[in-house]
């Protein structure tokens, strides 16, 4: 019956609304953008947001024998600040990572500068060469530093062979500086690449202009090249600083007793310490502290820029 009825305009609207909706959706830039982003957004929600919610939730529980007491409490955060060990090691980790970021950027800048300005042919090969160490496992790179810095390692046996020293130096490995050296090498590419990109983007005519106006090479670098490459430097600093705060493999392998970092304490809480809620609380406080440190850094940079202008 119904199928034989002639189509009346009144039957149209639902489909028409839908079509119009679809048309507006396609027309709207942002809706289309989010549509295209949806796989990424879904992944972020599942892989980033959800774990953080779980972590914060877990940190509000308490560990009892064989399970959790699920009444919400801040007891783990109190433990964090009551026991001197946690704030102390977190502070130490921030300092180590700041040192790592500084060393890495200082060493990476000349390398990036060289590739951006001095290399004219086969730049790709140079970039590949820089990422070459990353083709081996992170663990292997840390181990190789243990071999280089070790008691009868490359440096010690080399110096003994040269006759500079008679007894191996024993301050090379198992301390904070070994952690800084190892991390600075391990994260070098993460600093070189962003700095290279920002140097590469600099309009060469600006540098020529500076020369034409009578600036020497040093002043040209300080007043033109360096400020223009600052975004890359900032990105490199953050890319190195943020992940290294939580590193625990490197301190475990080359840090000895004095080089332990917050990651080791988190691992201990989740491992043999068998106190997951406390480990979660340490992680949450670490993340907040790192966020704060990054904000302070960015604020400092913008103030510095304002001062220079």
């Amino acid at each position: 019956m119904a199928t034989t009825l002639p189509r009346t305009p009144s039957a149209e609207p639902p489909a028409g609304v839908l079509a119009r909706w679809r048309r507006t959706l396609w027309a709207s830039e942002s809706a289309r953008g989010y549509g295209l982003l949806s796989p990424t957004l879904a992944l972020l929600a599942v892989a980033m947001a959800a774990p953080i919610v779980v972590l914060v939730g877990l940190s509000l529980w308490t560990q009892v024998d064989g399970g959790y007491d699920k009444t919400l409490t801040l007891a783990n955060y109190e433990t964090f600040f009551d026991k001197r060990i946690y704030p102390l090691i977190l502070w130490r980790s921030l300092n180590i990572s700041a040192a790592v970021a500084l060393v890495t950027v200082l060493l990476a800048y000349p390398a990036a500068y060289f590739i951006a300005f001095k290399v004219t042919r086969n730049k790709m090969i140079w970039l590949i060469l820089i990422t070459l160490p990353f083709w081996t496992s992170y663990l292997l790179r840390v181990f190789s530093w243990k071999i280089i810095l070790g008691y009868n390692g490359v440096i010690n046996s080399g110096l003994i062979w040269l006759g500079v020293i008679t007894e191996p130096l024993d301050f090379l490995v198992y301390n904070v500086s070994a952690v800084v050296v190892t991390l600075a090498h391990a994260w070098a590419a993460f600093a070189i690449l962003p700095i290279y990109v920002s140097l590469e983007k600099i309009d060469r005519s600006l540098i020529e202009a500076a020369h034409d106006l009578g600036e020497g090479p040093v002043m040209t670098f300080l007043r033109v090249t360096l400020p223009l490459s600052l975004p890359g430097v900032i990105a490199a600093t953050l890319l190195v600083f943020i992940p290294t705060v939580g590193d625990y493999v490197t301190p475990k392998l080359v840090g000895g007793n004095t080089g332990i970092m917050i990651g080791n304490l988190i691992q201990s809480a989740f491992g043999r310490g068998d106190n997951w809620p406390l480990g979660a609380a340490i992680s949450v406080v670490s993340m907040l502290t790192i966020t704060l440190a990054v904000c302070v850094f960015l604020f400092g940079v913008s103030r510095l820029k304002a001062l220079l202008r």
């Binding site: 295209l36 796989p39 024998d65 064989g66 026991k83 001197r84 060990i85 102390l88 090691i89 070790g150 008691y151 009868n152 191996p168 024993d170 198992y174 000895g256 007793n257 004095t258 332990i260 304490l265 201990s268 989740f270 491992g271 043999r272 310490g273 068998d274």
Partner: protein
């Protein structure tokens, strides 16, 4: 014309994108699927116990099983608790209550172990073998935790062997120790003069051990649970003394180094380790076969000769011969050997001791 072209490009891009998404989803699906069927049991054990010579019967029949090593048992228990799926584990006597508390230790059907009758009666009577009339743990080997030292670098300790070498100011920065409570930290309690080096329920005893541990933290080059790391440090002369198990001494002596394994005046520590099966294992038959293979005489002989440990079957000792046993400093009688040292027990207030250890390592 331009807009038409633009639309075509966009359409093509969109089609390409959805194809890409499809590929990505497919890839994720493939990753999520099991890589291969797991038809071998997983042995979760001490580093070095993946040597196939320790399980010759099993390897001949089924090939190699899967293996994962723990750093120490505290780590192992924590991993099992958080859902790690093992089939067979190798716990030691002092840790059995903690493993059992996970509720994941299954009874062992000894009628399926043709080598079970070979296990020495005195070991079968140990605490932890039988629980509620069922066998839960099969003793496999026993050995020591003590100090290995370079007799050429620290000759004054020859004949005057003592744990104190780790605290000797002369060797500051030239000693190393296990990163473990039962194999290292309790020694601080022993030297602090605590009445029971395994009991830290009294805060005064914990404090006494803390004072000793603070000194040790400043003494050691590093703490490590990896026998290879400790052996290499001794071999290179980086450290003159380190806590190790017998197997490290056997290997160091094979390298021709001038080392000796201390029998400290305070006593060396002794332990017994064995095998248990995890409840709900999908490989019950193979798990039993794995245990049986480790009780077989060729396996036990290999462990005596290569690790220098005592083993749980008399037959293996007979097969090795007295001369070799003497060279390894091994007694055929476990009761005698275990009574001669400090038998490692479950630690009371383990959590407090672990916290103390973490704190002194951080310099507090």
């Amino acid at each position: 014309m331009k807009t038409k072209h633009h639309h075509a490009v966009e359409r093509r891009a969109r089609a390409g994108l959805s194809a890409l998404c499809g590929v990505a989803v497919l890839a994720l699906g493939t990753l999520a699927a099991p890589v291969q069927a797991q038809d071998q049991p997983l042995l979760f054990s001490w580093p070095g116990y993946d040597a196939k010579e320790l399980y010759p019967d099993y390897v001949a029949r089924h090939g190699m099983f899967r293996f994962t090593a723990w750093g120490d048992e505290e780590e192992g228990v924590a991993k099992l608790k958080s859902g790690f799926n093992a089939d067979v584990i190798m716990p030691c006597s002092y840790k059995l209550p903690k493993w059992r508390a996970t509720g994941r230790i299954a009874p062992i059907d000894t009628s399926r172990l043709k080598n079970w009758p070979k296990v020495m009666a005195s070991l079968k009577q140990m605490d932890g073998v039988m629980v509620d009339g069922k066998v839960m743990w099969v003793p496999i080997d026993w050995g020591n935790t003590s100090v290995v030292y370079r007799t050429d670098l620290a000759p004054e300790y020859v004949g005057k062997e003592s744990w104190e070498i780790l605290w000797d100011p002369k060797y500051k920065g030239r000693v190393a120790a296990f990163d473990s409570l039962v194999d290292a930290v309790v020694v601080a309690g022993l030297l602090a003069g605590n009445p029971d080096m395994f009991d830290y329920s009294d805060p005064a005893h914990l404090e006494a051990a803390r004072v000793k541990m603070r000194e040790l933290v400043n003494q050691v080059k590093f703490f490590s649970n990896d026998p290879t790391t400790l052996e290499q440090a001794i071999a290179s002369g980086e450290v003159v003394a380190a806590t190790v198990w017998n197997e490290s001494v056997v290997r160091l002596k094979k390298q021709g180094l001038k080392v000796a394994y201390m029998n400290p005046k305070e006593g060396m520590m002794t332990w017994v380790c064995g095998l248990s099966i995890i409840a709900g294992s999908e490989h019950m038959d193979k798990a039993h076969e794995l245990i049986d293979a480790m009780l077989a005489t060729p396996s036990r002989v290999w462990e005596i000769e290569n690790f220098g440990y005592g083993v749980s079957t008399q037959e293996a000792f007979e097969a090795v011969g007295d001369e070799k046993l003497q060279a390894l400093g091994l007694s055929k009688n476990p009761e005698q050997a275990l009574a001669a040292g400090i038998f490692q027990k479950p630690i009371v207030n383990e959590k407090g001791l672990q916290e103390m250890f973490d704190e002194v390592k951080a310099g507090l």
